[in-house]
């Protein structure tokens, strides 16, 4: 779902009157391999004046400038990493939609796996504690009395005999 009201508002305000859309025909590079690289890179880069849009999706003039810049660097022979580095040097970390693993983003990247591992561990400990305490509370629950054993024997014998009523 894109945009509950506020989202739609924000976007529409930012788009303003311009109705150009994302990648323009005149931007496309003649080499399809390079163009594909440019598109992939564009999806990872943020249009800095928009609310959470990649430059591949955005209609803002700034996004177009960035798309052209990416293509310029690619034609100049830069590798993908070099293009990214160039843009980060120029516009800062804010341009990356996938932040790099650095001290100030450490928590961002580590919290999801920690949540999963922590949750799993808590479940396991909880289960062990509960099954232990249940056993400690009432060991009789897990053992049959001699009388019960005998009844069980009889039941099994009856089940396995050819005539159940015998």
């Amino acid at each position: 779902m894109k945009r509950i009201l506020a989202g739609a508002f924000a976007i529409a305000v930012m788009i303003g009157g311009s109705a150009a859309y994302a990648v323009q025909p005149d931007e496309i590079m003649s080499d399809p391999v390079k163009e594909a690289r440019a598109r992939d890179l564009s999806r990872e880069l943020r249009c800095m004046v928009c609310q959470n849009q990649s430059i591949d999706d955005s209609e803002a003039p700034l996004a177009r400038d960035l798309r052209l810049l990416v293509r310029e660097r690619i034609s100049a022979g830069d590798s993908d990493a070099q293009v990214i580095d160039f843009l980060v040097a120029r516009y800062g970390e804010f341009v990356l939609l996938k932040p790099r693993l650095e001290p100030h983003t450490l928590l961002l990247w580590l919290l999801p796996p920690i949540a999963l591992a922590g949750g799993g561990l808590a479940l396991w400990l909880n289960w062990r504690r509960r099954s232990k305490s249940a056993r400690a509370e009432d060991p009789a629950l897990f053992k049959l009395t001699a009388e019960e054993e005998a009844r069980l024997e009889r039941l099994i014998a009856r089940e396995t005999s050819p005539d159940p009523r015998a």
Binding site: K2, I4, G17, L111, A115, R130
Partner: protein, 660 residues
């Protein structure tokens, strides 16, 4: 006059909510059933007054009364009637009024249909509902009054944002709010249980239908919003990991977890403490979503800081309710007795695993959405967290979850047989492997992950069908007998099968659309032909026409395949004169579950027009899946066992029979 009446009705609703939030609690303390019953009449009266207030605002919009600020800023006399009505909630003040109206609606429904609840539980639940309602009435009356007048009424309004002038606005926000606000009921039940210090399987049975209602609406609301974005915003995307979307996804994930843990609680009286926590979390996340969307904090932390009244008010509500309920939880939860034991490999174990992954997924979205805000507030550093982050962290969590989905219903309660379940799922596994082999052969050299993901989806769907076959004894008993069994199967079991299959269906759509989407971007002149995924699209020409409150440029494309003419597609661009804004109206052509999608760009001086054409294979499955899930939910909801609630005393039944 109407505006003042609407305003006054809202003030009266606040008064009623204040009564409803205190008197029943005193009644519960004194065991006075008359005082406890005040909750019921107050809730119904509150609903009446909020409905009157909402009707007043609708009337003002419909009659284009521009002496009211809200109408002036969001309406226009030439706007079609439907958008005059939907425009009521297409703005901050109106959408908050819709929010409280739905809250009152749910409160009223508990009051009207909660006859089988114990009196003190109903009193507590409605009192907690009234706390929430009071907070939001105050918010509206103090910071966002939709009934304010202008001293000097203008002749014409400023019109509604053109992006919102769409049928999507009629359906999406009300559905989403029914979902968001619906979780308030599970929240109120949880807080009531904590106050009373009593919770049992019957509690779960009472909460389940309400949670299910909220979940169905939220599922449909999210799917509907996604489809709206897909056709309205004109670049063919359907999910953007935008904070506003995440705000609705988080309660959905928590709510889905809650639905599953409620099953365990109802059937086995276990997971009580956890279920209470999830009920609190699901609604807390709804409140968080309301805060994120309504406070302006998303546009910029600074926008929030410069005009803080609304944001701070909602933040205050957020802190009081989330903080308060969690403190109550910390204080009282240990008093709740833990229920039945179960082995890790069991139906309960599978549902716990489901909860683990869903809550972790929810936490991931939470962290990704709020981390940049927190970092900026704390250190001033600005980072972006977007789709690539979520695809990398959120996606993998669903792989183990989806593998586990078919196993859940195959396992017995208390202690399950994993090997036995695996044997019964052999057919589903083979179906998945065949799908994998076929896809790999077919897309040889292409993406390696996509066939794996589709195989997983096939496994989930085939697993759901295996569950159905197991329950009806298909292939083991004569066919007529299985049909008989299928008819007698509880509707909630049908619900499980459909909802689980829906997840698989949606996954197929998502994978196909993202992997095998074809795109054409080019400048076209009349009579030019574009070839996309085997379809020939000929631009016949461009025409201008006048709509009610916009001018439109429409292009006409003839679509054909292998020389055979299929259809005509007419994408357009609309220019709304009042706001000077333009929208792209994409044209869609459905072929099976796939779609052709055309959207228009700028015209150039030499008469060419920029065109974007997509072929999106299986794209409709993305929304068909959630619809199937919601339908499963509805079947579950219609299950007699849920409607009946807790068994009634036999005496009452005999009384009824005697009367006949």
């Amino acid at each position: 006059m109407i505006a003042e009446a609407g305003h006054y009705a809202l003030v009266l609703a606040l008064g009623l909510a204040l009564i409803q939030s205190t008197v029943p609690l005193i009644g519960a303390r004194w065991r006075d059933s008359a005082l406890m019953n005040v909750a019921r009449s107050a809730a119904l009266a509150q609903l009446l007054f909020v409905a009157a207030s909402f009707a007043a605002l609708v009337t003002l919009h419909v009659t284009s009364d521009f002496s009211v600020v809200n109408v002036f800023e969001n309406s226009h006399s030439l706007k079609p009637l439907i958008y005059k009505i939907t425009g009521v909630w297409g703005n901050h003040e109106g959408s908050m009024l819709l929010w409280v109206s739905i809250l009152a609606l749910f409160g009223g429904m508990v009051a009207a249909f909660g006859n089988n609840l114990p009196l003190s539980l109903r009193a507590h639940v409605l009192a907690v509902q009234a706390w929430i309602a009071s907070a939001f009435y105050l918010f509206i009356l103090l910071t966002s009054n939709p009934f304010l007048r202008i001293a000097d009424p203008p002749i014409e309004g400023r019109d509604l944002n053109p992006v919102l002038q769409d049928i999507g606005l009629a359906v999406h926000p009300p559905m989403l709010y029914l979902g968001y606000v619906g979780f308030s009921i599970s929240f109120s039940f949880a807080v009531a249980a904590l106050i009373e210090g009593r919770i049992d399987a019957a509690w779960a049975r009472w909460v389940r239908p309400w949670t299910l209602v909220a979940w169905i609406f939220l599922t449909l609301g999210i799917a509907m919003g996604s489809y709206w974005a897909y056709y309205e915003l004109g670049w063919g995307g359907w999910w953007f990991w935008d904070p506003v979307e995440n705000a609705s996804l988080m309660p959905w994930l928590a709510g889905t977890a809650l639905l599953h843990s409620l099953v365990v609680m109802e059937k086995r009286n276990a997971l009580k403490v956890w279920t209470i926590l999830l009920s609190i979390l699901a609604f807390s996340l709804s409140l968080l979503g309301t805060f994120l969307v309504r406070s302006g904090v998303l546009t910029s932390v600074h926008a929030f800081a410069t005009d803080p009244t609304r944001g701070v008010f909602i933040l205050l509500i957020l802190c009081i309710f989330i903080g308060g309920s969690l403190s109550l939880y910390a204080w009282r939860a240990s008093a709740l007795k833990q229920g039945g034991l179960f082995a890790p490999v069991s139906r309960e174990g599978a549902l716990v695993l489901n909860n683990l992954f869903l809550t972790t997924a929810c936490a991931t979205v939470f962290i990704g959405t709020l981390y940049p805000l927190a970092l900026e507030v704390l250190t001033g550093e600005k980072i972006s967290v977007g789709a690539p982050f979520f695809n990398l962290t959120f996606g993998p969590l669903f792989v183990p979850l989806l593998i586990a989905v078919p196993f859940g219903p195959m396992l017995a309660w208390k202690r399950g047989d994993l090997l036995g379940a695996a044997q019964r799922l052999m057919g589903a596994g083979i179906a998945a492997l065949i799908a994998l082999a076929v896809l790999w052969a077919w897309t040889f050299g292409g993406s390696a992950i996509a066939p794996l993901a589709i195989a997983l989806a096939v496994f989930v769907i085939a697993g759901a069908l295996t569950d159905l076959a197991e329950r009806t004894g298909l292939f083991r008993v004569p066919f007529a007998a299985s049909v008989q069994r299928a008819r007698g199967m509880p509707r909630s079991s049908w619900g499980t099968v459909l909802a689980h299959a829906g997840v698989g269906v949606a996954l197929i759509g998502i994978v196909c659309e993202t992997t095998w989407n074809t795109e054409y971007i080019g400048s076209m002149r009349p009579d030019d032909v574009a070839i996309v995924a085997g379809y020939q699209l000929r631009l016949d020409g461009l025409t201008q026409q006048q709509g009610p409150n916009y001018r439109e440029m429409m292009a006409r494309f003839t679509v054909s395949r292998d020389g055979e003419r299929l259809s005509v597609m007419t994408p357009s661009k609309r220019n709304f004169t009042t706001r000077g804004a333009t929208t792209t109206e994409a044209a869609l052509l459905t072929q099976g579950a796939s779609q052709l999608y055309i959207s228009l760009g700028e015209t150039t001086a030499d008469g060419a027009i920029a065109v974007r054409i997509y072929h999106k294979p299986m794209v409709l499955l993305i929304w068909f899946g959630p619809v199937l899930m919601a339908f499963g939910g509805m079947l579950s909801l219609s299950d007699r066992r849920l409607r009946v609630g807790a068994p009634k005393p036999a005496k009452a039944l005999r009384g009824l029979q005697a009367a006949e």
